[in-house]
Amino acid sequence: MNNLAERFADRKVGSVFVYTHEAHPGENYLHLTSIEQKFRHAAELRDQLCVTRPILVDALDGACHRAYGTMPNMTWIFNRRGRPVYKANWTDSVSVGNALDDVLALPRRRREGKRLTPFNVERVEYRENDREAFYRGLERCGPKAVREFKAVFG
């Protein structure tokens, strides 16, 4: 997603990361109980996972995150008027890039004389799921996080 942000930065596209709650709390990163702890964890995310986009911290009760669905790693795209033009319950940079290409092509299509009418579509997309990398991330959280995930999903 960092690469995607860089790729579209000169096309009037902003990209941010909103820090939510710990999806897999473990011995090394406990569940959140204070806003100070939440800021520390967000800084760890920035430094260890090299997130180059601006990071915004949600309220401790997750007011923003909850209003948008409470999914652990979802992505939304908003236009300048604050209307969502894309929402996905999981983050996939290919999917997000395709959506940006589509909306950024609208002015050109209109200049070409096309009469465009919006419509909504729902579809299932498939992302690559690197289970080994995911488990490495869980191990960073601590054995408890690994144990709990395996208990749920095997």
Binding site: V18, A23, G26, L60, A67, R83
Partner: protein, 70 residues
């Protein structure tokens, strides 16, 4: 639910379905192409307050990824 109870429920202490699945509600989220709700957010960089509206009004489009370290 009290504010403290809400914070504790949202920031669950263990990854078990009864604590995380009950919170996920993507089907009830704001619809596409209609005004979306605004919320305050705080910049990691300096702790200053901003909000979603300030973010989305700064560019033609704004990509917002939600997530955490874990």
């Amino acid at each position: 639910m009290s504010a403290d109870d809400l914070i504790a429920r949202y920031n669950y202490d263990e990854f078990v379905p009864e604590k995380f699945e009950t919170q996920m509600s993507f089907g009830d989220t704001p619809p596409l192409d209609e005004p979306a709700p605004n919320f305050p957010l705080w910049r990691l960089e300096d702790g200053g307050e901003t909000d979603l509206a300030a973010l989305w009004s700064a560019n033609a489009y704004t990509v917002v990824e939600f997530g955490s370290f874990t």
